[in-house]
């Protein structure tokens, strides 16, 4: 406990927390991307993967809990450090941004908060499946059969969900900000933890740039591929009818009752 307190109560300690949780979140971002790039394969591929995750509730929930802890610590350290940083200069300068700094580095908190808003939307969109926010219909009605079981149709959710232009736009904006956030964050992570010298810094920066570009391209390809009708267009058309029928059915039922 003493060590935890000492870490949390020092500015450098909080930067370690920020860096380590950032690294964990980056690992998740990579894993999540690899998982979701399976949308470029046949529908069964990603549906099997989604079903595999859902069929291991202990694993799934410990991963979710772990992520929640990481996100909370990452944001808590960011917000407290940022408050401390603002307090350190009560009177601002007359103008001009901090000399020699990049916009990416100056707007980490802003990009981070927009990404947080996006993550909340993304959870509501595909995990909680709130029907009102996806611009399509009730995703929880989309099912498919895998090895004789009815399972949620993740592939259909994606190919239908990303036909909505404003959803795609929001996803792209968030990915753009994640690109900026990672471009600075991935390199600074090493700096905060002290892994840097004149030999390694150029390599670290190169890694940060390449990794953030790869993450952006990968994540942007999914909504763009679907929106431009490269992926899953036939499947989406077919599922659109099923979804419409499924949505219409319950509406019909009470209407029938009233008639009686």
């Amino acid at each position: 406990m003493n060590l935890c307190q000492r870490i949390w109560n020092s500015s450098l300690g909080k930067k370690y927390v920020m860096a380590l949780t950032g690294a964990a979140l980056f690992a998740f971002v990579v894993g999540h991307l690899v998982g979701n790039l399976q949308v470029f394969g046949p529908p069964e591929l990603i549906n099997t993967y989604a079903h595999f995750l859902k069929s291991k509730p202990a694993l799934l929930w410990s991963a979710r809990l772990g992520l929640l802890v990481m996100v909370t610590l990452h944001i808590a350290s960011a917000v407290t450090l940022s408050a401390m940083n603002k307090a350190a200069r009560p009177e601002p300068y007359a103008g001009k941004a901090a000399y020699g700094s990049t916009a990416q580095s100056r707007y980490m908190l802003v990009s981070g908060l927009v990404i947080l808003a996006f993550v909340l939307y993304h959870l509501a969109h595909f995990t909680v499946m709130l029907p009102g926010i996806n611009g399509v219909g009730d995703f929880s009605k989309l099912t498919t059969t895998l090895e004789g079981h009815a399972v949620p149709d993740a592939y259909a959710m994606m190919v239908l969900g990303f036909q909505v232009w404003w959803v795609v736009l929001f996803y792209l904006v968030a990915q753009g900000l994640l690109f900026a956030h990672l471009g600075h964050g991935l390199a600074s992570m090493f700096q905060s933890l002290g892994f840097r010298d004149h030999t390694w810094w150029p390599r670290i920066q190169c890694f940060a740039t390449l990794a953030s570009i790869a993450i952006f391209v990968g994540y942007a390809a999914i909504p763009l591929g679907i929106f431009t009708r490269v992926v899953g267009v036939d499947y989406a058309e077919q599922k659109k009818f099923e979804l419409r029928d499924a949505t219409l059915m319950p509406e019909k039922a009470p209407a029938a009752k009233e008639a009686k």
């Binding site: 003493n2 060590l3 000492r6 870490i7 020092s10 500015s11 450098l12 300690g13 909080k14 930067k15 370690y16 450090l81 401390m84 940083n85 603002k86 307090a87 350190a88 200069r89 009560p90 009177e91 601002p92 300068y93 007359a94 103008g95 001009k96 941004a97 901090a98 000399y99 020699g100 700094s101 990049t102 580095s105 100056r106 980490m108 600075h184 390199a187 600074s188 090493f190 700096q191 905060s192 933890l193 002290g194 892994f195 840097r196 010298d197 004149h198 810094w201």
Partner: protein, 258 residues
């Protein structure tokens, strides 16, 4: 040449300050920025106005006393020089130059362009030293020091403690200063006995003084008159992590206390 100066004037800490614009008398372009202010002040004094207060001492770039944020950059437009070695030939005839004090909570303003940088002294006092034997000078080279460590330590030791890093940083962070001091001693064999105690004490004092934290924007490195590298901040972060993990030293008992 003549320039227009937009200077921060503030009577004291408790009176709010404002910018005031002055037209300089005819200047020689080979004057330093501080000499230009001397000339402007002479003019102000002759007209019965209060001269502009600003810090200066050696005027040869080694004491770290001069400060000033000139057009948004501490120590003026060039890299690797202090305000005293910024010359008027770097500006054009008729330029408007905005001159502000270093602004940070830990550098409270005294008057006009002068701020109190004693917080740096307090950070130095808690750990920026080595325990050294007094007495006869030791033999030269009696303690071997790898050349590359000596070079790095010298790079860090160049810090003149002017506070430009704090002034430039968007978070008013003193990390570059503290890192330079920590690294300069931590790289030498003579600095090893207190290496981890030092970094812990200096970082704790830095936090207590109310400086911000590092967000690796690189502003400090870009304005440092001695071009001290951000690499040293990483070194300090590394040493501090080790210090945290090590914990405090065991309390002296029988043998040690004896």
């Amino acid at each position: 040449m003549k320039v227009f100066l937009k200077v921060w004037r503030q009577k004291n800490r408790n009176t709010p300050g404002t910018f005031k614009t002055y037209t300089s008398p005819e200047l020689n372009e080979n004057m330093s920025f501080l000499e230009m202010l001397d000339v402007v002040n002479e003019d102000l004094a002759n007209n019965g106005e209060e001269p502009i207060a600003f810090d200066h001492d050696c005027r040869e770039g080694i004491c770290g006393t001069c400060s000033l944020v000139i057009d948004g950059k501490p120590h003026g437009p060039h890299r690797g020089v202090a305000t005293c070695q910024t010359y008027m030939r770097s500006f054009k005839n008729g330029d408007e130059i905005v001159v502000e004090p270093f602004r940070a909570k830990a550098f409270p303003l005294i008057k006009d362009l002068v701020c109190d940088r004693k917080s740096f002294d307090r950070i130095q006092q808690v750990g920026g030293f080595i325990t050294v034997r007094t007495g006869a000078a030791p033999d030269a080279n009696s303690i071997p020091v790898p050349k590359e460590n000596a070079d790095l330590a010298m790079d860090a030791a160049q810090c003149i403690g002017c506070g430009a890093c704090v002034a430039a940083c968007k978070n008013a962070s003193a990390m570059l200063f503290v890192a330079a001091k920590v690294s300069h001693l931590g790289l030498m064999p003579q600095g090893q006995p207190e290496r981890y105690k030092r970094v812990k004490a200096m970082v704790t004092q830095m936090d207590e003084e109310g400086f911000g934290a590092c967000t690796v924007t690189g502003s400090c490195e870009a304005v440092c008159p001695k071009e001290i590298s951000l690499d040293f901040i990483a070194r300090m972060n590394r040493d501090y992590a080790v210090a945290l993990l090590k914990g405090d030293a065991k309390a002296a008992t029988s043998g040690g206390a004896g």
